[in-house]
Amino acid sequence: MSDLTYNGTELLATVASRILKDGDSVFVGTGLPVIAGMLAQKTHAPGLLVFFEAGAIGPIVPQLPISVGDSRTIHKAVAASSMHDLMSMCQAGYADYGFLGAAQIDAYGNLNTTAIGDWDKPTARLPGSGGANDVASFVHKMIIILRQSKRSFVEKVDFITSPGFLTGPGAREKAGLPSGGGPFRVITQYAVYDFDPQTKRLRLYSLHPGVTAQNVQENSNFPIDIPDIVGTSPTPTAQELRLLREVIDPSGIVIGK
């Protein structure tokens, strides 16, 4: 099956989808996360419980929603609730996974989606937290998807919009965040990362096909822990590619990019 061609976004969607297991619950936003959730539902995890932050609970999403509140998010849902209800349930511990993107990430998985440069005189104002800070605070395992470069993998993010492990081991709990949460995986166009359980620093987990550890390090402004043995990321199967292209995002709004 090595002749299957896929683009970077399709690979990211597949890698993210394979992390989700049947019977897990996942809090999703728009774009790639919902694609990963839909792909998991249509392949190995039909019982995946999906939450959309604006209130949809347990939908069987037929086609890519454009907005977290759009009608497709409540297709065959078991409940249509509110932001307050959904966020409360996540705070009370019902969401296993949550997906986040970011413009910047640091070695502890802290994320910036608020501003580049000084907050009060930004060189670029970004959308802000939205539900991101809440997802990062509440879910048990946070999955981060972003484009990796020296500009996005930075020693210190310009603004901590959403908490990773903050300053290291114990920092989340000391700040008052629910215990045991935090970043779980980081997925980029080069590799998948996890976090060292002792240091809480980002560590290489698997390389995408054709990528070397050197590539990974060259595209980061902080040193990445590279273990002796590193796996290879899964690549999309023919079935996954067909689902992504023909069923989930036929007009290529996200995967076409």
Partner: protein
């Protein structure tokens, strides 16, 4: 008996954009009309009657879903320049920024989701026209409304802690007097005016929403005055047939506007899809201030009412957006 103190561990640097007085809020709510009176009026009448320059407004929606766009366009047409408000928005917040209507913002997310950050908004903040921004998360905004709706000064929460989102907010963190652990206090937000679009309302302001309700119930109860636009005005008997569907009861509401396709170019769950071409066209042109102004001139300043706006969009276009079956 020795005096006990709750320890404040940390506090955001921003003063509240909208300080609150809950006893004043109670007195205001006590004086609100409780009789079933007819509150129907036009967008123009409602905005003129309840929105004063400099007041604090909230526009409720989610993404581009159920946006009170006919009321947003009327706000812009009226020419307010110094409104304060809460930005949990997408297209509507962008238009308000493009038209320089806002000076101060409690901000959680302003962007166009899959399309990214809009240039109008960037210009508003980066140029300094928007003078004050206070950061929040979505849950924090929901719970700021919830606190006001409950008539309490704050809701304790386990979000925003340890981050710059907290630092640039008006939240505080205390040592919880029950557990001894740090907890964030999310302050109440009492709005001067809440603007909400619903599927159906009666003339008294009883409102029903199909599908997810976003921030609607909390924001309505947190607002001193509520302006409702509705796709359909129904008899009160219809409301009474399904009282469990009522998200906002009438006494919270001050104005009811009949606005079919009131969310256009956003969508309305179960009724019509969003007008992707319209939104994309706006977004693509938003990087150019002249083209943004052209948009405002054509679609907002150039029309006098929602009816005229719908005529400009065209019946065929609107009909093509209608959801045929559920």
């Amino acid at each position: 008996m020795s005096e006990k103190h709750v320890r404040i561990l940390d506090e955001g640097i921003a003063p509240l954009i909208q300080p609150f007085d809950l006893d004043e809020f109670r007195a205001h709510n006590r004086a609100k009309e409780k009789a079933l009176v007819d509150k129907r009026m036009s967008e123009s009448e409602a905005i003129s009657k309840f929105v004063t320059e400099g007041c604090y407004v909230g526009i409720e929606l989610y993404g581009t879903v159920r946006c009170p766009m006919s009321l947003t366009r009327e706000l812009i047409r009226k020419g307010y320049k110094k409104l304060r408000g809460v930005g949990q928005g997408v297209f509507e917040a962008d238009l308000l920024a493009a038209a320089n209507c806002m000076k101060e913002l409690d901000w959680t997310y302003i962007g166009l989701e899959v399309y990214g950050v809009s240039s109008s908004l960037r210009r508003g903040v980066e140029s300094g026209y928007i003078e004050r921004v206070v950061e929040w998360s979505n849950a924090a905004i929901a719970w700021r409304f919830k606190a006001a709706a409950m008539g309490v000064p704050f809701v304790p929460a386990r979000t925003m802690l340890g981050t710059d989102t907290f630092k640039y907010s008006s939240a505080k963190a205390i040592e919880c007097p029950f557990t001894g652990k740090p907890v964030a206090l999310i302050p109440a937000l009492v709005l001067d005016v809440g603007i909400i679009h619903v599927h159906r309302a009666d003339k008294h302001g009883n409102c029903q929403i199909d599908g997810i309700t976003g921030f609607a119930a909390e924001m309505a109860a947190a607002s001193k005055n509520v302006i409702i636009s509705a796709e359909e005005i129904v008899d009160t008997d219809e409301i009474r047939k399904a009282p469990d569907q009522t998200v906002i009861p009438y006494y919270l509401v001050d104005a009811v506007i009949h606005a079919p396709f009131g969310s256009h170019p956003g969508e309305m769950g179960g009724l019509y899809e969003r007008d992707e071409e319209h939104i994309k066209n706006y977004f693509d042109n938003s990087s150019d201030p002249t083209k943004t102004k052209d948009y405002l001139d054509k679609w907002i300043y150039g029309v006098g009412s929602h009816e005229e706006y719908l005529r400009l969009v065209g019946t065929d276009r609107l009909e093509s957006l209608r959801i045929k079956e559920r």
